[in-house]
Symmetry: C3
Subunit: 356 residues, 3 copies
Amino acid sequence: MTSFIRNQWYVAAYGSEVGRRLFSRTVCGEPVLLWRTRSGEVTAMSDRCVHRRFPLSQEPSHLDGDQVVCGYHGFTYGADGVCVGVPGQRRVPRTARLATYPVVEQDSFVWVWIGERELADEKLIPRAPWLDRPGWTVVKGMEPLNARYGLLVDNLLDLSHETYLHGGHIGTPEVAETPITTEVDESAAVVRVSRHMDDAACPPFYATSTGIEGRITRWQDIEYHAPCLYLLHSRIAPVGTPPPAEEDGSDPDAFHVEVVYAITPETEGTTHDFWAVARDFAPEDEKVTDFLRESNRTVVLQDVVALDVLEQALQAEQEGYQELSINIDTGGLAARRILERLRREGAPAGEPAVAR
Amino acid sequence: MTSFIRNQWYVAAYGSEVGRRLFSRTVCGEPVLLWRTRSGEVTAMSDRCVHRRFPLSQEPSHLDGDQVVCGYHGFTYGADGVCVGVPGQRRVPRTARLATYPVVEQDSFVWVWIGERELADEKLIPRAPWLDRPGWTVVKGMEPLNARYGLLVDNLLDLSHETYLHGGHIGTPEVAETPITTEVDESAAVVRVSRHMDDAACPPFYATSTGIEGRITRWQDIEYHAPCLYLLHSRIAPVGTPPPAEEDGSDPDAFHVEVVYAITPETEGTTHDFWAVARDFAPEDEKVTDFLRESNRTVVLQDVVALDVLEQALQAEQEGYQELSINIDTGGLAARRILERLRREGAPAGEPAVAR
Amino acid sequence: MTSFIRNQWYVAAYGSEVGRRLFSRTVCGEPVLLWRTRSGEVTAMSDRCVHRRFPLSQEPSHLDGDQVVCGYHGFTYGADGVCVGVPGQRRVPRTARLATYPVVEQDSFVWVWIGERELADEKLIPRAPWLDRPGWTVVKGMEPLNARYGLLVDNLLDLSHETYLHGGHIGTPEVAETPITTEVDESAAVVRVSRHMDDAACPPFYATSTGIEGRITRWQDIEYHAPCLYLLHSRIAPVGTPPPAEEDGSDPDAFHVEVVYAITPETEGTTHDFWAVARDFAPEDEKVTDFLRESNRTVVLQDVVALDVLEQALQAEQEGYQELSINIDTGGLAARRILERLRREGAPAGEPAVAR
């Protein structure tokens, strides 16, 4: 029994990771081979040769034009996965063909669909447009997490942990103290958690990047598209700054940061933790860029260390274990319910679970 | 099915290891958090936050006065395990409480009771008073053992291995050659093994520390309090020294060394190997102290290497394996029988196994 | 359920590895202790003391004349496995005896028989006489393989992989292109695969060692004696060289290389990969010797890396996996069938599987 939700789009890589070198990443337990054709299209196929299961990403496997040549016995495949050559004979068996995966490059990410191909609707891919939009400057990375992906979902949906785990970086006492409001859209599989702090200390992450010296209004608006994409809309402004204009949402005196996480299960107990931070201020300031990259990576690694430890602790539990949930967990518990439903249905978000 | 005997006192730490820094040690599979209150009392509680099971010993968890603050979301606990604060709300759930363990600091050790609390009788704790008594000088340490604790019990109850595994340190031919006498007190769960060598070579461990140059009378009197404490009363004297006085046991011309092992199961396959050596001679002589510390640590590590290898060998056995026991194993076999009985009964040593 | 075929001779070591130092190697899951008596005979016995299963190869276990002394408690054994001394008592239990293994030193190898002793017929040992014959110069080694032995059998029976995995060393395009002929002798458990290239490029492995500068006739004649010995008779000659004489097989103008692999399962997932290369030319030329040793070791390590990766890939397969076989796999598939039969029968090659 797998715990993966397969009929979903997942981020397999940043587009910048995929080129003319064979590259592999495991998504929901399936090893996916990623490469670009000479014309620049991203291709996603099974990373196992049909002959003897040799990984096609393993040297001396290589690209020859728009064909993949297995490094063990030379089985050769086109971008459509069809085998076009085998050693020692002219005839290529008709069934020699690699599984391919629907793939979409969007918002700087490479999205793949692991499940049933006929359900792969591009319109289901959640958006993070700031990662690839003029006027926004982005820093990003990916950290391997030795923990089940659910622990990262828990972590991100309850930001009160910023006060404790990330104190000195992004946490201040107000984060843990300020109540949240939670909205759940079951049919769209979206959870929204908001925390608006009217008068809060400005943590170093924002003080250094924005230059604000006094206290701030700090809004955290989370939008989690289960299971794969997490958006944190962060608004920072000196106390007293007018709110966004009601008519058009314009908000010229505030600083906006869009924090994006793509949460991709690798195996049952490991996760690809893609993180990106986009900002609409000081777009050309390299110092701000470097500072935000280092700061956010530090924060992500604090989470990675904590969640890796937590995964080990959970695996060592001798029997079932109990948790105790409180108000701050409302969003996380809603996310768990949605994930459980998606698992049970085997269906894409927003789609009815029809018999198939 | 666990092989742990839970209704027992076990040594979790030396008192000197526990202070105002959060410290964790796993005993019989349970992670125990140890720290001292400001008034110096040792406190033992579950090392898992009730909220999401985060280890309370993991940074940035920390002590705040006499309260433990979880480093993940800030759940805060008093020394009695009761949760006194949670993030984002005033009300603390009534059930938010860490399990605590009965704890006794005695003979330099911190003893904890893992099993049923109402059976935790302090009078059941076996004593090793030399470790904390005027006139005795002590060296000690703890080595992690990657082997089931039964292998250490076997090892210590059959000292004939000193001749082979510890030759050049504490072993001489006479140890293996001299027959033993064994006494078993089933109801107290104590095994006694004695080996009295009347005329033996003096191994470097004793020659260097006592200054004796010729042959010696060497008595080894083992007293094993199953499952957790092992005492070796060692008497060394030049050949011809009168025996201890019958009336009062006084024995002024002999050298006495009390070797103490606390044997604490960590997991099914790993053990905390606490060792200490107390002597009643040359109490202020730093050279003797340093020599005994280094020598005994060397000997303990010889055992650790051998038992780690043995554990690996046993785990690789493809089916059940056979052993062959001889006279030297009488004490070890008696200990195994007692351990098996205690496991079966789930009862503390010396207590009748009543239905519960 | 083990997958080992036990009633077989396996190579446990090169004779040169076994001397007056206790040496252990695991064969089909059984740890075998190997040493030479003072008169030079190789002895193979269980590497576990009958007392407490301590490995006799583990220091401070040692040889004392022609006796093995256990480093834990001093149990002492003769070359016949019989225990001749135990600590603390004169009487040695009658049942104290190590299992010994039939052992034959032949063709530079130490062969052992793991299965039923009464079936251990020396005449069943396949021969590799070039490894120990005047006029032949040999380089050899053993590489540990973290893969099931079947993957090495697959690898060696399909040399088309030389073109891809070993290009630049021993592979050229003609290897993969040239069809093979396969012969299977089911009753003798021998598979023969031949590939005769009449006009082929000369790969560096042969060009450098023979000095041939132009194109070559290259014959590869494989002879696999399941499960344990693999011979590759390799004939290299400039194009136009006359074939071997029909009357006596003499072939003075060609270069002959005998590549030998002994394939010994260590555990279910690991293998001892013994390799040797014997040649009948330039026998004293140290440069050729050094070159062939380095080249062949490089090639073997390319296989080791590939098969270790493949083993990991297979272990990560979530369910059963499919392979697709083509003409080049004829020999490998025949070998698999024979191995499966031997496993099922539990019988030595060539012997009827009688009830026992």
